[in-house]
């Protein structure tokens, strides 16, 4: 590589970064630290983290401006996994698009499907029967646990603890087995249909879910045993990537990140969907909004999910699993925004219908994409190692960021 190209590249990234900075002047309350010096006169180091980097959770590229190891600014470059999901949605019928949403947040495919199906149902003004709603809740909460387990394993791996990854994957396997038995797929499940569920639960479903509950509760304690009071874990996560509740709200950050900053906002309680209004559960919140609180909040959420599943399995009603929906789905003209609490935050679908079989416009509000905005605010002034920790704690899935 010649000198010329090297200079060109750093020019490009410096322009990118100065763009970030100038945009930050608009939100002066978010502006933590502005480097005063011009780029090429200083000894700052600009490095590319990603898109092929072991700890950026896929193909995220972060341009880091470093002073030694201190982070002066970041710029996220996304789009390496862009597949045009929203545009595909405009060219498929409502039914055909259903499996596509699984490919966004592929570690929480069930949640994606739930959000989409409910949005279309709302648009068509139909409602899924009670039994279908319960099945949806059970599977979605199982998926939330699976998603949090995957988050915990990779987050711990990023911070250097290799072993929790294998423990969480061992236990996540049990959830995937239930999914596989229910709908034949493990990851991209396509578990729900517009109007309800296609599949009745298999024989022994309830027993298996209950077995899972008793199996996984001590396992969550096991993860906590390795990390919660670990001195190194505390030092690596406490007061790292702090973000205030106000900043979260200003940036549109949702999910466990928002709750760890002390804002008690959970769509399952705030605007209950599916059958959530019938269950008794708490919204765990943190106080400091640091990486450790986010860790605690997600660990507590796993336990709350267990509670919800237990109530749902015990109270699952008999009855049909499919509502009254026509063979050809043709919602009336109109628009709808429906959002659910996905494991990573608020997952919303905005659908504009022109009365045909295909959406006129379909827009997804992915939690990962919005939460990723907070990265720059959270890591300024920290060290390189903290960038990794913060990317991990934001719990992003690039499939959802890029869509």
């Amino acid at each position: 590589m010649s000198d010329q190209t090297v200079r060109d590249k750093s020019d490009v990234s410096s322009q990118a970064l100065s763009r970030v900075e100038s945009s930050h002047h608009d939100h002066s309350h978010l502006h933590l630290e502005a480097p005063e010096k011009p780029y090429l006169d200083s000894n700052e180091l600009i490095i590319n983290m990603g898109p092929q980097h072991p700890a950026t959770h896929g193909v995220l590229r972060v341009i880091l401006k470093l002073d030694g190891e201190k982070v002066l600014g970041t710029e996220c470059v996304i789009g390496y996994l862009h597949r045009g999901v929203e545009k595909i949605g405009e060219n498929r019928t409502y039914t055909m698009f259903n499996p596509y949403v699984d490919r966004m947040d592929y570690v929480a495919a069930v949640s994606n499907g739930l959000g989409y199906c409910e949005a279309v149902e709302k648009l068509m003004n139909v409602e899924a029967p009670a039994r279908a709603k319960y099945i949806r809740v059970i599977l979605t909460e199982l998926n939330r646990i699976a998603s949090h387990q995957l988050w915990l394993g990779t987050h711990a791996l990023d911070i250097g603890a290799m072993t929790p990854l294998f423990y969480t994957f061992r236990d996540r396997e049990e959830i995937l087995k239930i999914f596989e038995k229910y709908c034949g797929a493990r990851l991209t499940t396509h578990a729900f249909r517009i109007g309800g569920c296609q599949y009745e639960t298999y024989a022994g479903f309830e027993k298996e879910v209950k077995n899972f509950l008793t199996f996984v509760a001590p396992k969550i304690d096991e993860y906590e045993e390795l990390l919660t009071t670990n001195r190194i874990w505390l030092e690596r996560t406490k007061n790292v990537g702090v973000i205030s509740g106000d900043d979260c709200v200003a940036l549109g950050v949702t999910g466990p990140v928002l709750r760890a900053s002390g804002v008690k906002w959970d769509l399952r309680k705030a605007q209950p969907y599916a059958a959530y209004s019938e269950f008794d559960f708490e919204i765990p919140t943190g106080e400091n909004g640091d990486t450790y609180d986010r860790y605690l909040v997600r660990m507590a959420e796993m336990r709350q999910s267990l509670r919800i599943i237990e109530q749902a399995v015990n109270g699952i009603p008999e009855g049909p699993i499919m509502g009254k929906v026509p063979k050809v789905i043709k919602p009336p003209v109109g628009e709808i925004y429906h959002s659910i609490e996905a494991p990573k935050g608020e997952l919303g679908y905005f659908i504009v219908s022109d009365g045909s079989t295909q959406p006129y416009r379909l827009r997804v509000r992915p939690p990962s994409f919005v939460n990723l905005q907070a990265l720059d605010v959270m890591v300024r002034g920290l060290l390189v190692a903290d960038v990794i920790a913060v990317i991990g704690t934001l719990d992003i899935v690039l499939g959802e960021v890029d869509r």
Binding site: M1, L45, I47, H53, P54, A55, E69, A156, L157, D158, I159, G160, A161, M162, T163, L165, F166, Y167, R170, L226, L227, N230, I232, W233, E235, R236, L383, V384, A385, D386, I388
Partner: protein
């Protein structure tokens, strides 16, 4: 030459002490081969142990229970294309792993596996070890610099800062152990590695227990510093995979990369031997004070044979547990052969132990042979425990951040080791 060869036999000093170059060369070759084999064994054991910590099986395919995996890996690395980045400083890039390797292996010249089982007994042995082993950092810095790339540069800077800071705490802990050697009748201490173990023998106490808890604290500090010094978890900043891809050796591949790995593991063994020599009585067997009757000597001399017998038994159990399917036939035969070799070594060692039993004629070849085996066995066993510690820590703990690491080095380890040093001096003067 034959004369030179024969004249050393029966001598009870090191080849260096006897000024016998031929035997020194033989010892060097034995140690070089031994350490290389130990690194390979360590490689296999680390992967296996780590796998079992993490509910995996680890290598299972190449040879029975992956026993041939290190050989396959070494072969693969040797056959790989040797890539030198175009923008790298070619010569420096080439020489960096060699510097690291030299530093790691030169240390072994003074490591005493027994009173005469060392290449040389240098009178400044421990100083030499600390000096040479700290040369390893040069290889790392040079590698990071020559790669002409950001990640290796940051990795190299991290690890040089880390090694330099921890060397101070490490040195002070070593000094407090050296100070302990001087609390005897003549009042003179020693820097010789063999001398340090001898003085533990004479004082009748391993330095880890001396002036309890001062020796223990110094030992623990040394262990922490030595883990940091060798860039191992939880202080593996330099090659923090999740942050810096592979740290200073990001640009290295193939044989050069494997040289870095070899020197890292060799350095781990080297610092562990320092710890063993300074605090854990080197080649001395455990409980020399409690169980000192001549009969006990014989019992303890059975340990090497029994250890190999145990390994052979484990291997035979492995054979028995293998699936009966015919496709496992070669693996079964291989593992059985391996078990048989271990069993044969065990028998040989037991035979030597029994033959060398007659304590009256100390000069008999069998007795001397038995003694030598005992020394090396206890030394290697103690070092092996440290190796297990390294793996255990790696499997259990997250990684410290760079600034926290420096804080521990300067604000925790340094004051403690200094305090221990001062207290050791005061207590030593009062007691003796």
């Amino acid at each position: 030459m034959l004369n030179e060869f024969m004249s050393y036999l029966g001598s009870n000093v090191t080849p260096g002490g006897a000024n016998n170059q031929l035997w020194a060369l033989i010892y060097v070759l034995i140690i070089f081969a031994g350490v290389s084999v130990a690194v390979m064994a360590m490689n296999w054991f680390e992967r296996k142990a780590l796998a079992h910590f993490q509910i995996r099986l680890g290598p299972m395919r190449v040879g029975p229970h992956g026993l041939l995996q290190p050989i396959a890996d070494a072969l693969k690395l040797m056959l790989k294309e040797d890539i030198i980045p175009q923008e790298a400083d070619q010569f420096v890039f080439w020489i960096a792993p060699v510097i690291g390797l030299l530093a790691a292996f030169t240390v072994y010249t003074v490591i005493p596996f027994g009173p005469s089982q060392a290449v040389s007994d240098m009178n400044i042995g421990i100083l030499f070890m600390l000096g040479v082993s700290s040369l390893g950092v040069l290889g790392i810095v040079v590698a990071g610099w020559a790669s002409n790339s950001h990640y290796p540069l940051i990795g190299a800077l991290r690890s040089s800062a880390q090694m330099v800071s921890y060397e101070i705490a490490m040195g002070l802990a070593v000094v407090s152990a050296i100070l302990m050697t001087s609390f005897n009748a003549s009042g003179t201490g020693t820097l010789s590695m063999i001398g340090i173990v001898r003085s533990q023998q004479q004082q009748g106490i391993w330095f880890i227990f001396k002036f309890f808890p001062l020796g223990l604290v110094a030992f623990v500090n040394f262990v922490v510093a030595m883990i940091a010094e060798t860039n191992r978890a939880p202080f593996d900043m330099a090659e923090a995979e999740s942050e810096l891809t592979a740290g200073y050796h990001t640009e290295y591949s193939g044989l050069r990369w494997s040289l870095f790995m070899l020197s890292e593991y060799a350095a781990m063994i080297a610092v562990s031997s320092i710890a063993v020599t300074l605090w854990l009585g080197g080649w001395l067997r455990p409980f020399p004070n409690l169980l000192h009757a001549p009969g006990w000597d014989f019992v303890f001399s059975l340990f090497p044979g029994l250890t190999f017998l145990g390994l052979a038994a484990i291997a035979f159990i492995g054979v028995a547990r293998m699936p009966a399917h015919f496709s496992f036939k070669i693996q079964r035969i291989g593992l059985a052969a391996f078990a048989a070799i271990l069993g044969f070594i065990a028998l040989l060692l037991l035979l030597i132990a029994v033959a060398g039993r007659s304590s009256s004629s100390d000069t008999s070849i069998a007795a001397r042979f038995r003694e030598g085996i005992d020394y090396v066995y206890w030394f290697v066993l103690k070092v092996a425990l440290f190796m297990y510690l390294f793996i255990w820590l790696r499997a259990t703990w997250p990684r410290y951040r760079f600034d926290q690491l420096m804080r521990i080095g300067w604000k925790v380890l340094l004051p403690i080791t200094l305090g221990v040093l001062v207290l050791t001096a005061i207590v030593g003067v009062i007691v003796s």
